[in-house]
Amino acid sequence: MSSIETPYILGIAEKPQAARRIAYALDENNKPQNKRLKNIPIYICKRDGKSIVIAPAVGHLFTLSSIGKTWNYPVLDYEWVPSHLVYKNARTKNFIDVFKSLAKGADDVIIMTDFDREGEVIGYLILKYLVGKNNAERMKFSTLTRRDIINAFDQREKSLDVGFLNSGLIRHYIDWLYGINYSRALSLAFKRVSGRFKTISIGRVQGPTLGSVVEHENSIKFFVPIPYWTIKSEVILNKENFTADYEEAKLKTQKEAIQVVKDCSGLTGKISNVSEEPSFLYPFPPFNLGNLQRETYKHFKFSPTKTLEIAEKLYLKALISYPRTDSQKLPMTLGHKSILVKISKQHNYNVFANEIIAAKKYKPREGKQTDTAHPAIHPTGKELNETLPPDEKKLYGLIVKRYLSLFGKRAEFLKRTIQILVNKHKYEVRGSKILDEGWIRYYKPYYSVSEYILPDVEIGTEVIFNYIESKEHLTSPPRRFNESTLLQYMEEEKIGTKATRAGIIQTLFDRGYIGGKEIMPTPLGISVVNVLQEQYPILVKSEMTRNLEQIMEDVQNENKDIQGTILSIKRELKDLLELFHQKETEIGLALYKNLQLSEKSDIIVLGECQQCKKGELRIIRSKKTRKRFVACSSYFDKAIICSVTFPVPNTGTIKSTKKTCIHDGLPIIEWQKGRRKISMCISPDCPSKKEREKNESK
């Protein structure tokens, strides 16, 4: 440390890449001195005659941990401890040592973490536990561009954002209190009845999310399709065929449908009206995180977690603004003209950017949602100095195109409807002509429209029908959630926050509660929800978490004091856990029975055993080792004792496909873990496996 001249201002950044960008922007010569302490990069820059040493964290360096070692509940006392002391894999110790060491030579501190709740908490905990201070100056920025960083430095606040800090802290306390207590309570309830330990975890936000997935699945399981009829017809207009829609889209009875066809068959129709009306389509609002995650799922099938990860990489490369935002606002102070001029130098977008610049229309279209900390996600216009990896390139392209579209003119169409009357029944032929594509040109291929041009016809003209027929249909069950629609549902139900929703979905996948691209709850997920719904519904309903969100928002807006709030939450939780404790045996028993049933339903029969030709091959789980394998049911038949076995993956779900392998005739199973789904032969030596491994390694 002796080589760093003291005193200096210590800058606390959230990540190494952010520290580097901030240092390069702040150094007067754009050449900060780069050093490594304990293999952590630190940057020394000069500005306004002062020396600033910028060191990075790597997200959270501290985590909450219970005071006391007993594995029981309620646990209401906690403390912040270095993450590496709790999580073996946390590589945070060196970062902590670097901050401790740098704190000694610092006469001032500036928090340079991302400006949001988590950024405030990360900075505050380093400040409190490693620097020994309670407050510091705060830089607030939404992009890592030079311009924004220098502005943030020049206009830095004198202190941390108390609203964000308290809201961030209380979120950590509440999530920890609910997560640890209920996970312990459920696991202990199960142990009390079964005698064996099984981690059954649940959280404040996971519970209602899982509850919603199970409830949705139930609405599919209880679905009874109902018949309805439509009338299909085709008419000839100016020698061309056009589909005509009957006045009622759906008919509820077969009798009505038959009657319509009977009334109209063999008759010619007469054009009774032709109407035209202009219609307009305005650009979609700027991206906030939720909108972006849905759009990337739609076009690229990126999971919400993946989208956030890629967006963060683009942010750290200073190519886009901070992605964890709810805002659909793009204030003029962002300097849109300057961003557009920069984008016009990127060859993929120069034509449209120049078109906007030429039109001198620099006010983008905005949406309704706001965020106090950051604007909507937008490109910074920074030059692409490197070739982006394919996924980053896709996301960047989508964000730039969406941004450009916001400056485009509205799209204009002319809608034409031709009404045809046949024996008192009305039919309509509908068409649409594009007058001006407007903003859609800038946003292609992510949105496009097609024309359906109708000919000029006169009222009173006779029209021949090629056919009129009725078609029977059945109503369909609700569609299962995918990650994008589940995220949207969580947003609508106000479950979780923009920053946490994608992670919650991922946790449910990781814990084996849900699976599949079309998300289905697993037997374990269903069992946990069924038991809680009957015995302790508060944990799977969204009311509790919504109320807690409101409390946290009140703390952020400084309408509630954090200490008093946390005390009352602890009291309430203690009462709720007391209630749980009284029902512990009942809950444990219900969990045990449900899990037993779901484990029983786990016994999968794959087909006849080829070796003994008598037993059947089944997937079973060893009671001793809990390992899963395929074995012949004749193993227990003393006359046969067929000992054939095959290994199968120990985790994930396995289904029988009822198909056999072309190579060895053994059953093919479908294995799924998280989003990964593979059909495979049960034999480890099957040539098909070697083929697949070869393909995968390519």
Binding site: K221, P227, K252, L597
Partner: protein, 79 residues
């Protein structure tokens, strides 16, 4: 000790002793009955057995609980 009454379809304990099935299959039966009313209205006439058969044929459309109860009603019910 007296054994609990079990659902003939899924073997889960029946909490409401007045009921013939567990909670899920009782609800599925209610939905099935409501569905039958709608089918009857839609076609003018439709026998209960034909309806059950139709539901059993509609794998992927009719829900699992509904198909399970339809199967049980079709083969085992005396109603």
């Amino acid at each position: 000790m007296k054994a609990n009454k079990q659902c003939p379809i899924c073997k889960k304990d029946i909490k409401n002793l007045q009921s013939q099935y567990c909670k899920n299959h009782s609800k599925a039966k209610e939905e099935l009955k409501k569905g039958y009313e709608a089918w009857l209205k839609a076609y003018g006439s439709f026998s209960w057995d034909d309806f059950l058969q139709k539901i059993l044929d509609l794998e992927g459309l009719a829900g699992d609980f509904v198909r399970e109860i339809a199967q049980h009603e079709f083969y085992f019910s005396n109603e």
